[in-house]
Structures are given as structure tokens and as C-alpha cells.
């Protein structure tokens, strides 16, 4: 892949071609791993039955499958379309216009990396399942990078740069992985998730071997410890294990994290991963905004996580749009400013939502807490044991929650971006460029209408599909939406509020 002429790249691709022959090594290995439990069973059963070795022939099955897969998969790029053909019995032909390509991901598993290969995943922004994804599994890394450059250049969003055959000097990375970030890993929920998954798998394994029955609590000899000490020890061990798992998970996914700007087009380029490396390129015109999220643990440690709101990528593909893994908040905010190209929306001050919104936060937090407390008080009055009154601690917790939630509530419309922040346990600040807003929803329940509040929702085609501004005063909501898109809202605004003409209005 070292030929100097890059120009006929597209032409050469317009012929049907196979993936890299080295995939002949990857596929059998992968199939072998997948078939391993079955194979082991077969061999065990076989040797128990008489020790014949014909069972080894089954090893050939996965190898053959890999070969067939290689021979039946072909792709071509021509006439402005990418086409992928695969399958022997069920033949799939996938085809998509080049100018609809939104992201190009390169993922390399360890096996791929040993062989210098990578998987090119072409994202077009549909709700494609794994089965329908445009995956070119197994291209040499250099070739894959060329292909990516070609595909993204062919898109309408990034006009062809004249003289791009001589790439300008790469710009310094916007953000690079810092081992010190590891200290934020235990503060996110990921450790608990990994631990739960591991525990689930382990208990299932134990179950299938019949281990639970043998784990008789009476036979465990820990009689010298009292119950309280035991509980504390178990909790501490669990905490350490969960933290270690979280750090491990963080390292595996985010090691070598690097965010750079592609020279020339200005697209964003992400690299991360310890074993399986992942390279994502985000089309700069499709980055609609960013989301800064601070779960409580992270927030207490002044950390944050930043992701991009990318048109055509929804929440399920969140991995592709992570801009900064849990890291110091300063880093996340700096990156947000760079990505947005302006300082004010991501880090500037926000307009608070006023006393009525604050009151609503308080009632919403306190009322549900009051119910069990009241129930407990009544129960004690009726003769229940007095430890039930412990539930009174719910009240200060609810109050703290309410205070924090009302403090984080805020919005702003600056520099062509709508910014909104809310939440306490997970505080989120979302910033969305106004030109990516594709509609407005104003939602108000009866309670909200009584308080003169409304929830303004700016819909968009990426991320969680919408940016919510919770509980803004009605007139402020209309003002924000109006200011963002003057020509749109004006026709529905009468008397400072949005109204329609009447049910079944005649067509004009």
C-alpha cells in the first residue's frame, strides 16, 4: 500500500474485490473460538466412548466456514455507491450512496492487530442492526485509512480539498490520554456493571456445575468473626474489587485515547482502546452539539465526561461519539469549547428558571419522601417498633436533592447554541447548535400549566434525539424558541404564547 498515486483509488475500488486474504487466518480462529465449547464436548464424549480420533475432523468445520465466508464476501465502490455482497445460501447485497456516509470506524481486535488488519464499519445513520451494518471486515490498516479518507472526502459535507494528495502536517491532538484520569474510573457506575456481569456469569457457571449446593454457609468456617465485622469486611472487599474492575474497564476501552482534528477537512478523529483499538472519524458538519455529563461521584471529584451529539448517531452508538472519557472537568470543558468553536455555551453562565421552577423541584422531591415517612409515623403510633422511624432520614436526603436539582437547573441561548442543564444524581449539560434544531416541542402537564411552566424540547437528529429545557417559565420558553428561529415561531405566537387557530382549521 505504498504506491504514491492516491488519485485512482476510487477507480480501482469500482471493481468487485475481496477482503484481505489474511482474513483466511482470522475467520477460522474466530469460528474455532465460537465452536470451542461444542468441540470440547464432542472430544470429551468421543474419548469417553472409546478414544477414537475421528472427532478431530470437526475442527475442519469452522475452518471451512471461514473459507466460505472469505470467498463469498466482495465489495466495490463505484458510481457513488458502496456495495457489499456476502453470504452463500442467503445472499445479501448491501448498497448505500457514498454521500450518505456519516462516520467511518476502524476497529481492530487483537487477532486483527497481530496481522495488521482492521474492520471498517461504515455508518450511514440508519437504525441498522448488526446484521445489516456495512462492515468491511478485514482490510490492511493502511488501505483502510485511505478508504476512510476517500469516503469522507466524497461526502457532500466536506468539500474536496484541492491538493489533498499531500497531507498537511498533522495538528497536535486536542486531548490525549493521561494515566491520572484513572482515578475517576471507580467513581462511575461502570465497575458495578462489570462486577454484576462477572458475578452473574460466575454464579451461572457454579450453578451448572452444581456448586451452589456445595457452598453450604454452615460449613464456611468464619466463626471467630462477628456478623458486623464480617459485613464490613465483605463490603470493603466488594468496594476494592469493583474499583479495580472499573479501572480495568477504563484502561481496556480508553487506553491511548486521542482526539485530533483531521488536517484539511477539520473532521474529528478519535483513537482509543488497549487490546481492541478503535478509530472513529466524525464528520465536522454532523457534530450538532456536545453533552457534558457529571454523575454524582464524578462531580464530587470535579470530573466529567463529554460526548458529542452527532446527527445520525443515536444513543445505541454512544461509543462512537464519546469525546472525553471520565476526566477532570477542566479538560472536558476545554474540549467542549474547542469542538463548539466558542466558549460561552458550554462553560458560560446559565439563566436560572426562577422561583416557580425551584418550588416545583422541592414539591416533587419532598412529596414522595413524605409518604413513607408519614406511613412510618402512623405505624409507630399504632404500635410498630420504633426503628421504623429511621425512614425520617429520607427527608434531608430529599431536601438536598431538591436544592441541588434547583441549583443545576438553567439554560442559555448564546452564540447560536442552545445550552441547558438539569439533574442532580447525573447532572447533564447539553449544548446544541441552533441550525441542528429540527423542531420544537412545548410540553406541560396540568401541574406545570398551573405554575406557568413548560418544558421546552428542541428536537434533533442525533444523540438522544432531543435537548430538554426543564420547567422554564412559559414566556421565556417562547422567547428562547423565537429568538433561535424567528421566522418559524412568529406565525404561531399570539399574546406572548404559542397558540393554534382552532381544531380542523381550513387548509390554505
Amino acid at each position: 500500500m505504498s504506491e504514491p498515486e492516491l488519485q485512482p483509488e476510487i477507480e480501482r475500488d469500482s471493481e468487485w474485490q475481496r477482503l484481505d486474504p489474511r482474513m483466511l487466518l482470522v475467520h477460522p480462529i474466530r469460528e474455532l473460538v465460537r465452536f470451542l465449547p461444542g468441540l470440547v464436548l464432542l472430544v470429551l464424549a468421543g474419548s469417553a466412548a472409546g478414544g477414537e480420533t475421528w472427532q478431530l475432523a470437526f475442527v475442519a468445520v469452522p475452518v471451512l466456514l471461514g473459507l466460505v465466508r472469505y470467498l463469498t464476501t466482495r465489495f466495490r465502490i463505484g458510481d457513488g455507491r458502496i456495495e457489499l455482497q456476502r453470504g452463500l445460501l442467503n445472499r445479501h447485497v448491501l448498497s448505500t450512496p457514498v454521500d450518505r456516509v456519516r462516520t467511518v470506524d476502524l476497529t481492530s481486535s487483537p487477532v486483527h492487530r497481530v496481522l495488521g488488519l482492521t474492520t471498517v464499519r461504515i455508518g450511514t445513520g440508519t437504525a441498522a442492526t448488526d446484521e445489516d451494518g456495512l462492515d468491511l471486515d478485514g482490510l490492511p490498516v493502511a488501505r483502510a485509512r485511505e478508504l476512510r479518507a476517500e469516503l469522507l472526502r466524497a461526502g457532500p459535507a466536506s468539500p474536496a480539498v484541492p491538493g489533498a494528495t499531500t497531507p498537511p502536517a498533522p495538528e497536535p491532538p486536542v486531548v490525549e490520554f493521561d494515566p491520572a484520569w484513572l482515578r475517576y474510573a471507580p467513581l462511575t457506575g461502570s465497575g458495578v456493571v462489570i462486577a454484576a456481569a462477572a458475578f452473574g456469569a460466575a454464579s451461572q457457571l457454579l450453578n451448572s456445575v452444581g456448586g451452589w449446593d456445595r457452598l453450604d454457609p454452615d460449613r464456611l468456617d468464619a466463626p471467630s468473626l462477628s456478623l458486623g465485622v464480617l459485613v464490613v469486611v465483605v463490603l470493603l472487599v466488594a468496594l476494592v474489587v469493583v474499583s479495580l474492575l472499573a479501572v480495568g474497564g477504563y484502561v481496556v476501552t480508553n487506553w491511548g485515547f486521542r482526539l485530533t482534528r483531521v488536517p484539511g477537512s477539520g473532521d474529528w478523529h478519535l483513537t482509543r482502546g488497549l487490546f481492541t483499538t478503535r478509530e472513529t472519524t466524525l464528520d465536522v458538519d454532523r457534530v450538532a452539539g456536545v453533552g457534558l455529563s457529571e454523575p454524582l461521584g464524578l462531580r464530587l471529584a470535579r470530573g466529567a465526561r463529554l460526548s458529542a451529539i452527532v446527527t445520525g448517531l443515536d444513543r445505541k452508538q454512544a461509543g462512537s461519539s464519546l469525546l472525553v472519557p471520565p476526566a477532570p472537568r477542566g479538560v472536558a470543558e476545554r474540549v467542549a469549547d474547542v469542538v463548539l468553536g466558542t466558549r460561552a455555551p458550554a462553560t458560560g453562565p446559565l439563566v436560572p428558571h426562577g422561583p416557580r421552577a425551584v418550588r416545583r423541584r422541592w414539591t416533587r422531591a419532598l412529596l414522595p419522601a413524605l409518604v413513607p415517612v408519614a406511613a412510618a409515623v402512623v405505624a409507630v403510633a399504632l404500635g410498630a417498633p420504633s426503628w421504623v422511624l429511621v425512614s425520617v432520614v429520607l427527608l434531608p436526603i430529599a431536601a438536598a436533592l431538591a436544592a441541588d436539582r434547583s441549583r443545576s437547573l438553567g439554560h442559555a441561548l448564546v452564540d447560536g447554541h442552545l445550552a441547558s442543564r438539569s439533574g442532580s444524581l447525573v447532572r447533564r449539560r447539553r449544548v446544541l447548535a441552533v441550525e441542528h434544531v429540527i423542531g420544537w416541542n412545548l410540553r406541560a402537564t396540568w401541574w406545570q400549566r398551573r405554575a406557568g411552566l413548560t418544558t421546552l424540547v428542541a428536537t434533533t437528529a442525533g444523540g438522544s434525539q432531543a435537548v430538554e429545557v426543564l420547567d422554564v417559565p412559559e414566556d421565556e420558553a417562547v422567547r428562547v424558541a423565537h429568538e433561535a428561529m424567528p421566522q418559524l415561531l412568529a406565525q404561531f405566537v399570539r399574546d406572548g404564547s404559542v397558540v393554534g387557530q382552532g381544531g380542523g382549521a381550513p387548509l390554505r
Partner: protein, 143 residues
């Protein structure tokens, strides 16, 4: 239409409850709970559809579509004509009975679909044609 729908809805809910209670003996409710349930159902069918009808509004201009729906949680949605992706016309079983139809206007965002329910069928057809022409006239890929 909404009256019929809510009658069907509440009858189904009620029937499910009765079946659960009588057949499987799942729970044992005193008689006054049944009275309350029936009363709630009657009020629901009497009030909510009227309320819904009073709230419902829709409007189409040259550049945007606007709807107002809901009864308890009232929602107003605005979509610019340039961002409209598909226009659907659906006639449900109950709606067909009354010669009505529902027009759904979707945008590229999953959170932004506008639904105009209970339109006269002919009005709905004309609206769909109208919207299709108008949305077609605007440039861009609507994202």
C-alpha cells in the same frame, strides 16, 4: 372516535380485572372497590375525550406544521416544513367506522413526530397531498 376508543379501553381494563379476580382468584376486592372502579371508568369515558377534543389544535402554514395534543400533559409541537421527512396517513379500525384518519408527520428526530388524529378522511387526504408538495419544494436533506 375518542369516546369510542376510551369506552373500548376502559371496558377492556375492566374486563381484564374481572377475569383476573374471578377466574384465577388472584386478589380479593371488597365490593366498594368495584363501585369505585366503575365510577372511575365512567368519569374517564365521559370527561377525557371531551377534554382531549377541546385541547386538540393543528395548523399548517407555508413554512411549518403545528399541533397541540393531550389532556393532562399538553404538548405543542412545531416542525419546520424543511425538516419534514415522511407524511403518513393511517386509518385505524375505529377511525374507519367514523370516516376519520390520522396524519403523522415525522422528522429526522425520533422525538419530533407530529400526529394529527381524528381528521375527516377527505381533509386528511388533502392535507397529506398538500404537505407532500410543500415539503418537496424545500431544499436540503432534512437533518
Amino acid at each position: 372516535m375518542w369516546v369510542t376508543s376510551s369506552v373500548v379501553e376502559s371496558t377492556v381494563v375492566f374486563a381484564v380485572l374481572v377475569v383476573l379476580a374471578v377466574w384465577i382468584d388472584l386478589f380479593d376486592l371488597p365490593w366498594w372497590v368495584w363501585v369505585l372502579l366503575v365510577a372511575a371508568d365512567v368519569v374517564y369515558t365521559a370527561v377525557v375525550p371531551q377534554w382531549r377534543y377541546l385541547v386538540h389544535r393543528w395548523e399548517v402554514t407555508d413554512t411549518a406544521v403545528y399541533t397541540q395534543t393531550g389532556w393532562w400533559a399538553r404538548e405543542r409541537r412545531i416542525a419546520p416544513m424543511s425538516r419534514i421527512q415522511t407524511v403518513d396517513l393511517v386509518e385505524g379500525a375505529v377511525a374507519r367506522l367514523f370516516g376519520l384518519a390520522t396524519v403523522t408527520v415525522t422528522t429526522a428526530s425520533a422525538a419530533g413526530a407530529l400526529e394529527i388524529a381524528g381528521l375527516d378522511r377527505d381533509v386528511a387526504r388533502r392535507l397529506v397531498d398538500d404537505l407532500t408538495v410543500k415539503a418537496d419544494a424545500v431544499e436540503g436533506d432534512a437533518t
